[in-house]
Amino acid sequence: MNPFPHIIADEIARNFVLVVLIVLLIMSTFLVLTAIILRKKHERDEAYRLRKKEELYPLMLNYLDLDPGDRKAVEKAESDIIKRLKTARDLEVIEDLCLEIMYNIAGAEKLKLRQLLLIQPLYTQRYRQLKSWKVENLIQGCLYFVNVINQRSNVLEQIFPLIENRSVLVLHTAASAIFAYDDVVTRGRALKQVCMRTGISEMALLELVYKFHNKEFDQMDEEVSELIGIISDRSVPNVNRGVIIKSVADIGYATMADYLHDMISGMHDTDNGVIANSLIHAMGRFEYTDAAGLLTEKFSSSPDVAIRETLADTLGKLGNTASIPVLIGMTADNDFGVRVRAVYALAALGKPGYEALRHMEGTEDEIQRIAASIIAQLETGKNKTEK
C-alpha cells in the first residue's frame, strides 16, 4: 500500500522503493568491497616498497662509500640504481629512502645523497610537477627541490613565480626550495618577494627566515646585507619588516645589533608601532644593555600598550639596574598587563630589583600580591639553593 498517495501513484511507488533498495544494497556492498580491496592493495604496496627498499639500500650504501672523484665508479653505481627504478612508485621509494638516510647523516655523505636525488627520472617527474596547476603537485615538486643539490637556472625560473601563488603553502615550499641555493642574492630576492606578500603568519615567516639563513653556507655578512635591504625598504609591509627584525635578533646576526640600535635612534613617535615593538624585542634578544636608556627615552610614554609591555619585558632582560626607577613607574601604568610585566621585569633585575619589589608602595593590591608571590618564590628558591 502506498503511504504517499497524494504524491505518487501506487505502481510508481512500488517500483521506486524497489529500485532504491537495490541501489542502496549495491552501494553498501560496493563500499565494503572497496574498503577491503583498498586495504589489500595497500598491504601489497607496502610489501613492494619494503622489498624495493631492501633492494636499493645496499646499492645506496655502496654509492655512499665511493670516492666522488672516481666518476666512472659513481656513474656505474648511479646507473645500477636507475636500472632498478621502473615505475613511479619506485621513484617515490628512492626519494623516501634518501630522505630517511639524510635525516640521520651529515656532511659529505649528505651532499652525496642530495646529488643522488637528482637522478634523471625522478628529476624529470618533479620538474614537470612544477608546471602543474594543482597545489598538491606544486608542493611535492618544490619539496623535492628543497632537498636536492640544484643550481639549474631553469628550475629557479620555474620556482620563483610560485612565490606569487595564491596558496601560502605553495609560497612556503617554493621559498624553501630557493633557500636551498647557495647564492645569497637569489635567496635574498626570494625572501624579499615573500615579504611583499600579506597574509603570511608570523611563525611561517620566521621559519622562512631561518631557512634563508642557510647554515650549510657560511654567509652571515652577505645575508646581513640582504636583510638590511628588506628591513629598510618601506614598500615592504611593516608587519613583515617587524618579523624580519625579530628573527635577525633571534638567529643572532650580531653585526645587525648596531644597525637596529641606530634605527631606534632615528625613530619618531609617529613611526609604526609594529616596527618599534620588534626593535625593542630585538634589543632584548641581543642583550644590548646600553640600549636601555634609549628605549626608555623613546618608548616609556608610548600610547601603544603592546610597546609598553615589550619595553617592560626587555628592560628586565637587559639587566640594567638604571632601569629600576622606570620600571617602578611602570608598576603604576594605566594598563594591568604593563603593570604585571614591570613587576616581573624588576624581579629579573636581581637583588636591586628584588629590593625594589619589597619596598614597593602606592600600587594597587593585586600588583602588591603578585610582587609578594614573586618574592616568596625567590626566597623558596634561595633557601633550596642554600640547603
Binding site: M1, S28, A35, I36, L38, H172, H213, S247
Partner: protein
C-alpha cells in the same frame, strides 16, 4: 479513521522529506570531507619546522587537564602529556575537588610541592586551595580547587596558564606525541586562527604503555566497536566537512587548542552548562563576528587524541544524554545566530543543520517511527512497504558509516589489519538494529531533560587505559 489516514499520509510525507534532506546533507558532507582530507594529507609536509623550533618565537602551549576522580588514569595521562614532542609546553592539571585519591597520587608520584603562586583572576572560578609544582618536572603545575565542574576547572587553568596557546583535554585522554606540532600547523597556516580541534579516537581495545599507544585494536565489546564507527563518522565527515565550509560549531572538549587571549576576550568557559566545549566555540564565533575581526576556527583530522569510551549501557546513556543537553543548551543560548545575515554560513547553514537534524532529529525520528507503526497497525501502509522503508533507513545509515570506514582506509588507516576493516564494516550494519534506536531515545530524553531544567553531569566510570600503571 479516514482523517487519521489522511493525517498519517501527510505526516509520513513530511518525514520522508526530512529523511531525504538529512541524507542529502550527509552525502554532501561525506563527499566534501573525502576530498578535503586527502588534500590536507598531501600538504602535511609543508611545514617541517627545522628553524622555528630552534628559536623562542613559536607559540608555546599550556595543556589544561581537568581531573575529577580520575585516579584510575591520572598518572599515565600526565606521563603521556609530559612526553609530548614539543619544545616548550606547560602541563596544568586541575584537580576539581576530587573525592578519591587523584591529588594524593599526583603529589606522591610527581613529587609536588605547594607554591605561593599568585595569578590574576581574569575569569572567575571556584576558590583554589593550593597550587603545586613538581620537583621532577618543572613544566608540571597542579591546581587543587573546590569542585565546580569541568568548565570551572578549565577557567582556573586559563588564569594560571603562562603560554599563548591553551590545549584543553580530558584528563583520561591520551594524546599522540606529535599532536602539538601538528596542531601548530593550523596557526602557522593562518594568523587568524583562534581555535583548532583534532580527531578523537576510541582507545578501548588498544594497548598503552608508559603513556604511549603501543598497539591499535578495536574494542572487544559490542558498544565499544559501534562507537569506533560513530566517532569515525562524526569526526571524518562531520567536523571535516564543517571545517571546509568554515562553519565549525564544535571542538570536542576532549581535545582542542585555543588562542588563550581569544578565549579570555570571549569570557572563558561558561559554568552553568554541560556543553561548555560547543558553547565556547559558538561564543567565539559570536564575539569575532560582532566585533568584525577576521578569525578562523579549524578542525584537523590528523592529530589524534585517544579517549576511553563507556562500554556499558547505563554510562553511555548518561553520556549521550549529557551531550544532547549540552548541544541544545548551546544552540538555545546562541539562537540569535539562526538565519542572521551577520553570521553568514553559520546562520544559514550550520545552525539550521544542528537545530533541525541534531537537536530536533531525535524527536522527528521518534515520531516518524511511531507514525509508521500506527500506519502499519491501522493498515495505512502495508508490511512490505514497512520493511522496505526499514531497509532503506538501515542501508542509508550503513552507507554513511561505511563511507567513513572507507574514508579512513583512503587516508589514515590507523587500524592495522584487514580484520579491523571487516569488523568496522560489520558494526556499521549492526548499529542500525537496536543501537540507533536506543541512541535516539537517549538523545530524546536528553532534550526533555534539558527542557525540564536538568543540568548535572552524571558519573562516568573509568577503567584506565595504561597497562603499565
Amino acid at each position: 479513521m479516514e482523517f487519521i489516514r489522511e493525517f498519517l499520509a501527510w505526516f509520513n510525507s513530511g518525514i520522508l522529506v526530512y529523511f531525504i534532506m538529512l541524507n542529502v546533507t550527509y552525502i554532501i558532507l561525506v563527499t566534501i570531507s573525502f576530498f578535503y582530507v586527502r588534500n590536507q594529507l598531501k600538504r602535511k609536509k609543508v611545514y617541517d619546522l627545522t628553524g622555528l623550533f630552534t628559536s623562542k618565537l613559536y607559540l608555546p602551549v599550556s595543556i589544561l587537564a581537568p581531573a575529577y576522580n580520575e585516579e584510575a588514569n591520572i598518572i599515565s595521562s600526565v606521563r603521556a602529556l609530559l612526553q609530548l614532542e614539543f619544545p616548550e609546553f606547560q602541563v596544568v592539571v586541575i584537580n576539581d575537588g576530587s573525592t578519591d585519591g587523584t591529588l594524593q597520587m599526583l603529589i606522591d608520584h610527581y613529587k609536588l610541592n605547594k607554591v605561593d603562586k599568585y595569578y590574576p583572576l581574569i575569569i572567575n572560578h571556584q576558590p583554589v586551595n593550593d597550587v603545586y609544582e613538581s620537583e621532577l618536572f618543572p613544566e608540571l603545575t597542579v591546581i587543587d580547587k573546590k569542585n565546580g565542574r569541568k568548565a570551572d576547572a578549565l577557567n582556573a587553568g586559563l588564569n594560571i596558564a603562562r603560554h599563548d596557546l591553551v590545549c584543553s583535554i580530558d584528563a583520561d585522554s591520551i594524546l599522540e606525541p606529535d599532536v602539538l606540532k601538528k596542531m601548530l600547523r593550523a596557526f602557522m597556516e593562518d594568523e587568524e586562527t583562534v581555535a583548532v580541534g583534532g580527531i578523537v579516537r576510541v582507545a578501548n581495545g588498544c594497548t598503552f604503555s608508559q603513556g604511549r599507544i603501543q598497539k591499535i585494536d578495536t574494542p572487544k565489546s559490542f558498544l565499544g566497536r559501534i562507537q569506533v564507527v560513530e566517532y569515525l563518522r562524526a569526526f571524518l565527515f562531520g567536523r571535516v566537512g564543517w571545517d571546509y565550509l568554515n562553519s565549525l560549531l564544535i571542538i570536542s572538549g576532549a581535545f582542542g587548542i585555543f588562542d588563550r587571549r581569544a578565549v579570555m576576550r570571549a569570557g572563558g568557559y561558561l559554568h552553568d552548562t554541560v556543553g561548555e566545549d560547543m558553547e565556547l566555540v559558538m561564543r567565539l564565533h559570536h564575539y569575532y563576528r560582532i566585533k568584525k575581526i577576521p578569525y578562523k576556527i579549524r578542525f584537523l583530522a590528523e592529530p589524534v587524541c585517544w579517549t576511553e569510551v563507556p562500554e556499558d549501557v547505563a554510562t553511555l546513556s548518561r553520556q549521550r544524554n549529557r551531550w544532547q543537553r549540552g548541544l541544545v543548551d548551546s544552540l538555545w543560548r546562541h539562537r540569535r545566530m539562526m538565519f542572521n545575515p551577520k553570521y553568514g554560513r553559520l546562520g544559514f547553514l550550520a545552525m539550521p543543520f544542528f537545530v533541525i537534524f541534531e537537536m530536533l532529529g531525535p524527536v522527528i525520528e521518534f515520531l516518524g517511527w511511531i507514525a509508521i507503526l500506527v500506519a502499519l497497525l491501522i493498515g495505512a501502509i502495508s508490511w512490505p512497504f514497512f520493511f522496505a522503508f526499514l531497509a532503506a533507513a538501515v542501508f542509508l545509515g550503513m552507507i554513511l558509516s561505511l563511507a567513513s570506514v572507507l574514508c579512513e582506509e583512503f587516508t589514515f588507516r590507523r587500524y592495522p589489519k584487514t580484520k579491523h576493516v571487516l569488523i568496522l564494516s560489520l558494526y556499521a550494519f549492526f548499529e542500525n538494529f537496536g543501537y540507533r534506536q536506543m541512541h535516539t531515545w537517549w538523545r530524546l530524553k536528553g532534550l526533555f531533560d534539558f527542557v525540564r531544567g536538568r543540568r548535572e553531569w552524571g558519573d562516568m566510570e573509568r577503567k584506565g587505559l595504561d597497562s603499565s600503571t
